[in-house]
């Protein structure tokens, strides 16, 4: 699980082009959207593709992302439970 979390952090930084952010800057329970990392709805769509491409999880409704992408913690838990690759 910890390895997955680390992997997620570095992938998010890479995919979302967060130039000024390092893996260490993101805590597992930090909010990814809003006040935390400050991601927005376009980022949510990018993360949906990340789930599909890297872990074989397909979301059809962007609203589902809201709960899944709350934090690295929630994301990792969802991936662990639902991954197909």
């Amino acid at each position: 699980m910890d390895a997955l979390k680390q992997e997620l952090k570095s992938k998010i930084i890479e995919v979302l082009n967060l130039e000024d952010v390092a893996v260490e800057d993101i805590n597992d329970n930090d909010a990814l959207f809003g006040d935390g990392l400050g991601l927005d709805s376009i980022d949510a769509l990018e993360l949906i593709v990340l789930l599909d491409k890297e872990y074989g999880i397909k979301l059809t409704d962007p609203k589902e992302g809201k709960t899944i992408f709350q934090s690295i913690e929630t994301m990792a838990a969802y991936i662990t439970a639902n991954r197909t690759k």
Partner: protein, 398 residues
């Protein structure tokens, strides 16, 4: 007092017909043009529906009488086809007899060819002719060339409000006395580029689009072109022209909220409608029919609905989105909907908002779902695009 801007001709090609008459018949008989893709290769073929014009590129070339060595993109061909109809409808014989302009609009221009030959260009010399057909302006140059126009030619690209803005600029140039007449409108062909683009935004419906319905699932893309001929009042009188209607008001505002999504209270849409009513010197109660943008995405219909309520209160005049018929034709949308608005004025009909079943939970707005006959003097048409671009045009009988 602003000078009057008369509409003396119109032409259209869409998934519901390749003439104004065919489009009118489909609208009144409730015949939708949404179908499965035939003319384009895409892996999404089976999962999405589109408003595709069932005429292939070779067939279009033949319809237009183009030579085999032409390098018209599909966007340019659709545009040329509709523009030609418009000038014929306006009875223009000598294109350059007066100061005549063309203001077209497109979202992706010749992307349909670029995406086909992107890598082939380096191996196949015979397709290299399409390299210069890529940029948006090329489609307008082709249309001008096809109709023999020399003069002011420009193109607007503000995503899905583009054609409304072309109408606006054309009307302004007539009012300012810079042109005597101007052909305005827009053209967009279906492309893998836009299909996949909208797919990534997760706003494509997997079935028929249902504007203003509580259970709407997104939009169907479409392709189309339409053009209007606008002329000054002096030209109309001098030549005893038949007038189809007038462009009486217009407004553009920016939502300044998000790159693609509309604000929750529909601020940009509200401002655009407000400006247009002011220019037309009309009260909201003067509007007899609203041709809504109504793309059937969750975001648009909510935002637009709220803006409508802010302008019209809970007693909105009859409104409908015609996108259930045509799909969302992007830059051409406001042009085909301008044609529909003028047809509504001419025939005194409100076109139905098809596929509507359940009112949205957020408000009590219910679109007109059946064909309705009534006296119509003023039609308000909305078009909104990415980048917060919000436009309203008002068409009037007198």
């Amino acid at each position: 007092m602003n000078k009057k801007v008369a509409i003396t001709g119109m032409g259209i090609i869409s998934s519901i017909g390749k003439t104004v008459e065919e489009n009118f018949t489909a609208l009144t008989e409730g015949k939708s043009g949404i179908s499965t893709i035939e003319n384009l290769e895409t892996i999404h073929k089976e999962v999405i529906k589109v408003g595709e014009i069932k005429i292939t590129n070779p067939e279009l070339e033949q319809l237009l009488g183009l030579s085999p060595d032409n390098n018209f993109s599909r966007t340019a061909m659709l545009g040329a086809y509709a523009a030609k109809q418009a000038i014929e409808n306006a009875g223009i014989v000598d294109m350059n007899e007066y100061r005549t302009g063309l203001i077209s609009s497109t979202s992706v221009g010749g992307m349909d060819m670029t995406e086909r030959y992107f890598y082939d260009y380096f191996e196949d010399e015979s397709v290299q002719k399409y390299i210069t057909a890529h940029d948006a302006g090329d489609s307008s140059h082709k249309i001008a060339e096809y109709i023999g126009l020399t003069g002011f030619v420009s193109t607007i690209s503000t995503a899905c409000s583009s054609a409304a803005n072309a109408i606006m600029m054309g009307a302004r140039m007539i009012q300012a006395g810079k042109l005597d007449r101007v052909i305005v409108g827009g053209t967009d062909a279906l492309a893998k580029f836009t299909i996949n683009g909208f797919k990534t935004l997760m706003i494509l419906s997997d079935t028929y689009n249902t504007p203003f319905d509580n259970n709407r699932k997104g939009l169907n893309l479409g392709e189309a072109a339409a053009f209007l001929v606008l002329e000054s009042e002096e030209m109309v009188q001098q030549q005893h022209k038949k007038v189809l209607g007038y462009v009486s008001g217009f407004g553009n505002a920016n939502d300044a909220y998000h790159q693609t999504a509309s604000s929750e209270n529909g601020e940009g849409a509200f401002l655009a409608m407000q400006k247009a009513l002011k220019i037309a010197n009309l009260q909201p109660s003067d509007i007899d029919y609203i041709n809504a943008h109504g793309t059937a995405t969750p975001n648009n219909d909510l935002s637009e609905g709220r803006a409508l309520i802010r302008i019209f209160g809970e007693n909105t005049p009859e409104f409908s989105s015609t996108k259930a018929f045509t799909g969302h034709t992007l830059a051409a949308a406001a042009a085909i909907e301008a044609v529909y608005s003028i047809l509504a004025l001419e025939h005194g009909v409100v076109f139905p908002n098809m596929n509507f079943k359940t009112p949205m939970e957020e408000f009590d707005l219910v679109p007109q779902t059946t064909l309705k006959t009534k006296k119509i003097n003023h039609v308000l048409s909305n078009s909104f695009g990415f980048g917060g671009n919000c436009s309203t045009v008002i068409f009037s009988k007198n």
